[in-house]
């Protein structure tokens, strides 16, 4: 209890022993109260796959707040696209999500084809689908290994790289580029498949299936991995959707939504017998699990397409100098990382007037401030790895 006198003299303090003890406790608490620590993860940090920067405020090892800072790799592709012709732009968009470049080309080419009212021949669409799914497998195989590395197991990463190499060799044999195929043309493809591709592709798909089994045993089945990922970074379905989280990340939250099936029909997915995988949990583990199943599903789809590959040309008749008629087109596709969309505004010139590039990782990562709150530093790494983003796909 304290009583104070009017200003002018020292306050007269009546000391109560109980209050004194309380006071001492309070002081003790203040002394024990540790200040928050600001930890800067990135832009160069092994968990950020490039140049994402996370500023996290820590209390001990618990994250109080996280602020992703992006843009270290911003190349301004939307601006650059305004200065280039349509064929030149495909070389740019190869480099948005550089792990699945072929899949990036498809929606842009489709948008241009829709404006020009050109349709690629069926064989071209089949080959496009095969290569899209191949790049999906390549991307996911890397994820399956990389996620192991991020939670501390060094070996799965090498298995991921090893098996991805077979798929990349296939893509290179067909397109000439391992990472940047630039193989799509408005109205079809640059070239047909090389001799022996189908046989080689079949044997690679067998390897992919085996590789998936290996990851199932080495990573998914490992109790430490499960402890590290289960109920870590749960994305509720509705919140995820309103953040624009898409692709496997959203399907791992139980949303049965795949643009290959539910979007406007594109490529030849309608002809195939396949399944959309979902997982009800929405945590890091389910994101891993869904991607593992989707890798297998893609391999199955490719095998079906190899059997049903139609004959014929791979290029429709298009003028030599491509001028796209005036109009707007919006095409979104299910890319390995999620929904990738292009909004193309054309004014009848050889190049677009404006291209809005909607990349998947950008929206997927935008949920991080919400998602990271309250987890531990090691979980930050788990969550970052399980969301699976490519910096080029965030920064464009």
């Amino acid at each position: 209890m304290t009583t104070t006198q009017p200003p002018g003299g020292l306050p007269e303090v009546e000391i109560d022993p109980a209050a004194l003890r309380q006071l001492a406790d309070a002081r003790m608490n203040i002394e024990l109260d540790t200040g928050d620590m600001i930890l800067n993860l990135g832009p160069q940090h092994p968990a950020t796959h490039g140049t994402l920067r996370l500023v996290v405020r820590l209390d001990g090892e618990r994250v109080i707040a996280a602020d992703p800072i992006i843009g270290y790799m911003h190349r301004g592709y939307e601006k650059l696209a305004e200065y280039r012709t349509y064929p030149q732009i495909t070389t740019l968009i190869n480099r948005i999500d550089w792990l699945s470049s072929f899949a990036n080309e498809v929606p842009f080419i489709h948008a241009a084809e829709r404006l020009m009212e050109v349709e690629a021949p069926p064989r071209a669409e089949y080959i496009r689908t095969i290569l899209t799914e191949l790049s999906r497998i390549a991307t996911f195989l890397l994820f399956l290994g990389e996620m192991g590395l991020q939670v501390g197991a060094i070996t799965p990463a090498f298995y991921g790289f090893r098996d991805r190499e077979y798929v990349l060799n296939l893509i290179e044999a067909a397109t000439g580029g391992r990472f940047h195929p630039n193989f799509n043309r408005i109205g079809g493809l640059k070239d047909d498949l090389p001799w022996g591709f189908i046989a080689e592709c079949r044997s690679v798909m067998a390897k992919v299936m085996k590789s998936c089994d290996e990851f199932e045993d080495l990573v998914v089945g490992n109790p430490i991995f499960q402890q590290r990922t289960r109920s870590i970074g749960i994305i509720p379905a509705a919140l995820g959707a309103s953040y624009g989280v898409s692709g496997s990340n959203l399907r791992a939250s139980g949303v049965d939504w795949d643009l290959r099936r539910d979007g406007p029909p594109y490529l030849v997915y309608g002809d195939l017998d396949w399944k959309v995988w979902t997982h009800p949990d929405g945590d890091s583990f389910s994101r891993y699990w869904v991607r593992l199943q989707e890798t297998r599903e893609s391999a199955r789809m490719i095998l079906q397409m190899l059997d049903a590959l139609p004959t014929g040309p791979v290029m429709a008749k298009v003028p030599r100098i491509i001028k796209v008629p005036e109009g707007e087109a919006f095409v979104n596709t299910e890319n390995p990382l999620g929904e990738m969309a292009y909004y193309v505004v054309s004014k009848g010139a050889t190049g677009p007037f404006r291209v809005k590039i909607r990349s998947a990782s950008f929206s997927n990562v935008s949920i991080l401030p919400w998602l990271l709150r309250g987890c531990y530093v090691p979980d930050v790494v788990t969550i970052l790895a399980s969301l699976y983003f490519i910096l080029g796909d965030i920064d464009r």
Partner: protein, 343 residues
């Protein structure tokens, strides 16, 4: 002891020779484990070959070359670092490794000092390294290093207990804390009258062996318990600011300690240098080779797990130590004690 080389050597000279031998043995063992397991076994487990060119034969020279490179490097110290502590930390880490080697016997007379409390001593000095780790983390004035060091401290405290408790079973059974005594017990023992392989204590103390291996893995901060260095989160934890020869010290400390713990496990549970029926000078000659083979076997188990498993989270590690390992180790002691009294 003075008749080691069949000539009369004074105490001072013997001590000097022993010191030099230990000084040489620690980096050598670190190189051995680093080369066999880190460079070669890991590479093959990952479907690759590892370094093949340096030295001509399977890249045997790689690590030596790396060591020389480290010595040539500029000694970088962060501007904000606590310079003296920063410089001292790696030395303390390595020192604890050196001290463990003092009591590990490689033959009846091939030991620097056979202490009566050898087990106790070895486990005590091995945990000195945590002081060096804490110093390194604090002095680096780096948040990653600090978190890493604090994790290391928490972890080493948690795992010191199961480590010690796992050994208690051995001590109860053999009735001695001297490592030579324990080896002798195993050499002269017999399994139901069959003395062909002696009595490796792993047969009776299997639970103790398993707990010792897990705890040793945690003491060595190897995956799945490598949170203090956690490559993907803390970059390198407490050693993040270290370069050049100071980093080399940490490296030697890491692999030297791995060897020391493997040697302890081999000595306590696999019979150490002993070959049943071989005594005297023959054992002195044969002993080191036998010990190294056993050590490599134990180290293989350690590194096998290291290259296969992901890492725990700090709280999960604590839970494992306090909820599982310590109770099991206590139960093991209880059972051993009861059986000891009963037989």
């Amino acid at each position: 002891m003075s008749s080691l080389l069949a000539v009369d050597i004074g105490w001072g000279t013997t001590t000097a020779i022993k010191t030099l031998v230990v000084l040489g043995v620690v980096p050598l063992t670190a190189l051995l484990l680093g080369y066999i397991f880190l460079l070669k076994m890991m590479s093959h487990m990952q479907s690759r070959l590892g370094p093949m060119d340096p030295g001509g034969f399977h890249g045997w020279y790689q690590l030596i070359g790396d060591g020389i490179k480290f010595l040539q490097k500029e000694d970088i110290m962060p501007a904000e670092a606590d310079r003296k502590v920063f410089a001292l930390a790696p030395a303390i880490v390595v020192m604890s490794t050196f001290l463990v080697f003092v009591v590990i016997p490689a033959g009846p007379r091939m030991v620097v000092r056979d202490l009566d409390v050898g087990v106790f001593y070895a486990l005590a000095v091995s945990s000195l390294s945590v002081i060096g780790v804490l110093m390194a983390g604090w002095a680096s004035s780096n948040k990653y290093a600090l978190i890493g060091a604090l994790r290391a401290a928490a972890q080493l405290i948690a795992y010191e207990l199961p480590l010690v408790l796992a050994v208690v079973g051995v001590v109860i059974q053999t009735g001695t804390m001297s490592l030579q005594g324990i080896v002798g017990f195993q050499q002269d023992g017999a399994i139901f009258g069959f003395s062909g392989i002696g009595l490796p204590l792993i047969l009776t103390q299997f639970v103790g062996f398993a707990i010792f291996m897990v705890a040793a893995q945690a003491e060595l901060t190897q995956p799945p318990f490598d949170m203090p260095v956690a490559e993907s989160e803390l970059v390198s934890g407490y050693m993040v600011e270290y370069t050049g020869f100071r980093f080399l010290f940490f490296f030697i400390g890491e692999f030297g300690t791995a060897f020391a713990f493997s040697a302890l496990a081999a000595t306590l549970f696999l019979g150490g240098w002993s070959v049943p029926g071989v005594h005297g000078t023959a054992a002195d000659v044969l002993g080191p080779a036998v010990l190294v083979v056993k050590v490599l076997f134990v180290a293989f188990l350690m590194f096998w797990a290291r290259f296969t498993y992901p890492r725990f989270r700090e709280d999960q590690l604590q839970a494992l130590a306090w909820k599982w390992l310590i109770p099991i180790a206590l139960a093991n002691i209880l059972v051993t004690g009861v059986l000891k009294v009963a037989f």
